[in-house]
Amino acid sequence: MDIITELKKSNLRGRSGSGYLTGLKWEMVKGAKALKKYIICNASEGEPLVYKDYYILKNHLKEVLSGIEVALNTFKKSQAYIYFKPDYYKEFRRKIPKNIIVFKKEKEYIAGEETSAIQAIEGNKPEPRVKPPFPTEKGLYGMPTLINNVETFYYVFKIFQKKYNQERFYSIQGDIKNKGVFELKDNLSIQDILKKTNNWPNFDFFVQAGGGASGEILLSSELKKSISGIGSLIVYNTKKTDPYLLMEKWADFFINNNCDKCVPCREGLFRIYEIIKEKDLKNPVLKDLFLVLEKTSLCALGRFSVKPFSSLIKKWDKLKFPSIIKK
């Protein structure tokens, strides 16, 4: 069977944030001419309150490894790596077969995107590489490289087994009872996800959807859409939430986890942090910072960091935060 045709037919998209079509990525690596090719399974999820990869590794490691095996068989003369964050490395490295190299990420910051995994494995400071060239042409050690995330490899194997039912994993956290990771259809609306998992709140709430820090803020009336990105959903009880504290947490997360390479992300996020600390949301500078972050950052981390702030500020007046909190 031709896995690439199957992947394309399935319409499977990468589950690391960018949502690129997996079949196309595989096709590019397959088509690239080179003596050696590399496969990297990215197991370094780092956004707060997201443990989806962990759940899959814990419960479905065999499928993930089989997915990597499929890739090894598809690309001649290829070598596979798993790029673990430190605690995952500790827990899973002994369970990985010898033909796959396990790599422990050194620093506890997420540093951008998939190309930083390549940088780290090559022994450089993990910061994003300039694209193009894309990893599929010139990745690890200059060779064509396939980088997919844990969940993607899991589904690659499902597709290989012809058992793929258009599902994905959702990580649901926050002010709810039934927290956890759930495997459900990938086109469900947020509303349905919450209901199906028995998590629909009976209080005033809003959600953050997509990423644990980079996710967009949605009102309870806006939940007809499905979730993209890494499939994270966080529910907030409006009455119990201090939005300044929340923003400060995001900002703190971003300034601690960005790689500090490019100006808008390094300096811009630092200034956002300052402004939020001062509760100075009316400061016109904020809009300027959002603009350069979103449009001129070098990698996805910077570009996606604006969403939570801008969406929360935009919807502030519709949210009924406790009366002591003023904008």
Partner: protein, 536 residues
């Protein structure tokens, strides 16, 4: 051949395959703002100022290679707005010291700030309390000026030194020296920092010190490599020989005499040729390594000490001429050497370190009292409002006024080796080099195996197969001293090449081209010990 067509701002232009958008734009006089870009460093694309619209997306011009049919728009309202905001963010992490900056009148950041009409007060300075570091007697690194482009880390790595690194302080990474490594004082970081965070020690607060020495004779001496670079600050082209204008300016500044270090280089050459012959006879401590570049000597001492015995014991040119001034010259002219101040004008910051070496003292006196870099002299000339363009050239002073051509070519890569070979074979020879890679070449002449390299990291490759060679010349800087850390900014490969061309032209026009034929050599060569030192 390799030609493609792209459009910039709706105008069709031709480009070569492999060129970046920025290179093509600059060549066509389209001004794209850029700051972190340096022609000789792999772009980090970190400042984001050079973003341009390519077809439908934004890409940084400094590192994006042109492709056929690209449609590039370099300026429009929103893009300019974003540039301004990023520029503001950069400015807020850079503590300005404009009155005292190595970029003199060429600062890209300041020009951009003026062009975009920056209001400076939207952010507090982020780096106000960042530390200042001193690297030996040669360099100052003011990390409060740093804008985190990492160019310096890259060039220091390219030197095989890696003294500079990033460290995480709280939530931010910052550039710092690595305590476990040692700086070799090459000054390449100065030339590659877009915002002047590095400078030579004393630059520019101490430049008038030599002029303030009361009741003393002030003798200046001019290094080979600065005669074709100093003019750049006054509208001359890289490569134009302005030696006698420099001399005239120095007299105007109060010099009693002005000498040429190239004469010192003639002494170095003759001694070094002799030393090579001796070592070849005994086949001992070969290959002979040149030692006139103090940064290279530091590199050997700190990282490859097993090669210390291979370094030639001959002193570097300005140390020799300084020594001769404070001995023979003082005696002949009945001056107490204690009353002589020797100031060398050098393209180099490691020379500032060199003059502090105790072993070089002669009768308790330093052979050279001050080193001013090319940039420092430029600053002095400007500060004293000397009209360099118009000043009437003036001859240098005897007996150190006239060198051979061999003494001149010391200023660029390969010159020291060639000078020695001319003396050994007693003729102007043509060396057929085999270029192993940019910066490393080797040749075989009458059985003598030589290698020439610039850049200390490249020299490692020669050290690794040192058995293959009899004589090795290494200079730490790009293209030799013409690319030295004390040279005017901007400095890049293209400019450096032209400075070197100027040097070679001066050599071609010299009547005497072999060092040992210079008549002053005979006159001052009785006391050979004056010319040698020891490395440990």
């Amino acid at each position: 051949m390799g030609q493609i067509k792209i459009s910039i701002n709706n105008k069709e232009v031709k480009a070569k395959k492999g060129e970046t958008i920025l290179e093509v734009a600059l060549r066509n006089n389209v001004d794209i703002p850029n700051l972190c870009y340096h022609a000789d460093v792999e772009p980090s694309a970190s400042c984001r100022l050079c973003l341009v619209k390519v077809n439908d997306g934004l890409l940084t011009a400094c590192n994006t290679k042109v492709k056929p049919g690209m449609k590039i728009i370099t300026h429009y309202r929103e893009l300019e707005k974003m540039r301004k905001i990023n520029l503001e963010l950069i400015f807020a992490q850079h503590i300005e010291e404009c009155h005292d900056c190595v970029w003199l009148d060429n600062c890209k950041l300041l020009k951009l700030a003026q062009k975009y009409g920056l209001k400076k007060d939207r952010f507090k300075d982020r780096k106000k309390n960042f530390p200042i570091y001193k690297f030996g007697n040669s360099l100052i690194f003011d990390s409060s000026k740093c804008i985190d482009c990492k160019n310096c880390i890259e060039v220091c790595k390219q030197q095989g030194v890696s003294y500079l690194k990033v460290r995480k302080n709280g939530h931010m990474f910052s550039v710092e020296p690595d305590k476990k490594r040692n700086c070799i004082f090459c000054g390449q970081c100065i030339l590659h920092c877009p915002v002047g965070a590095f400078e030579a020690v004393g630059e520019f607060e101490d430049i008038e010190k030599p002029l303030l020495e009361k009741k003393k004779y002030i003798f200046f001496q001019i290094a080979p490599a600065i005669r074709t670079s100093l003019g750049e600050a006054f509208g001359f082209n890289p490569g134009d020989n302005v030696l006698e204008k420099i001399a005239a300016s120095l007299y105007r500044l109060g010099a009693d005499k002005v000498f040429d270090v190239s004469v010192g280089a003639d002494f170095t050459t003759v001694e070094e040729a002799e030393e090579l012959k001796k070592r070849l006879e005994k086949r001992k401590n070969l290959p002979l390594l040149t030692s006139c570049c103090p940064a290279w000597v530091e590199f050997i001492k700190k990282y490859y000490p097993e090669f210390i015995p291979n370094l030639t014991t001959v002193k570097s040119p300005h140390i020799i001429s300084g020594t001769l001034i404070k001995t023979y010259y003082a005696k002949e002219n009945k001056i107490d050497p204690k009353n002589i101040i020797v100031v060398s004008i050098m393209p180099c910051v490691s020379k500032k370190h060199e003059i502090g070496i105790k072993k070089l003292k002669i009768n308790g006196l330093k052979p050279v009292d001050y080193v001013l870099t090319t940039r420092e002299l430029i600053r002095l000339i400007k500060r004293k409002k000397i009209d360099f363009k118009k000043i009437k050239p003036r001859k240098l002073d005897n007996p150190f006024s006239n060198s051979s051509g061999a003494g001149i070519i010391f200023g660029q890569t390969g010159g020291v080796a060639e000078a020695a070979l001319r003396t050994i074979f007693n003729k102007k020879i043509k060396i057929k080099f085999k270029h192993l890679e940019p910066g490393i070449k080797e040749a075989k002449i009458n059985g003598l195996k030589i290698a020439v390299a610039y850049g200390t990291k490249k020299a490692i490759k020669i050290l690794e197969k040192s058995n293959n060679y009899d004589f090795v010349e290494v200079m730490a800087c790009e293209g030799g001293c013409v690319g030295g850390g004390g040279q005017p900014l901007p400095s890049n490969k293209k400019i450096i090449k032209n400075r070197a061309k100027g040097i070679l032209k001066i050599d071609r026009n010299k009547k005497i081209r072999l060092a040992h034929l210079n008549p002053v050599i005979k006159k001052y060569s009785q006391n050979k010990h004056l010319f040698h030192t020891k490395f440990t």
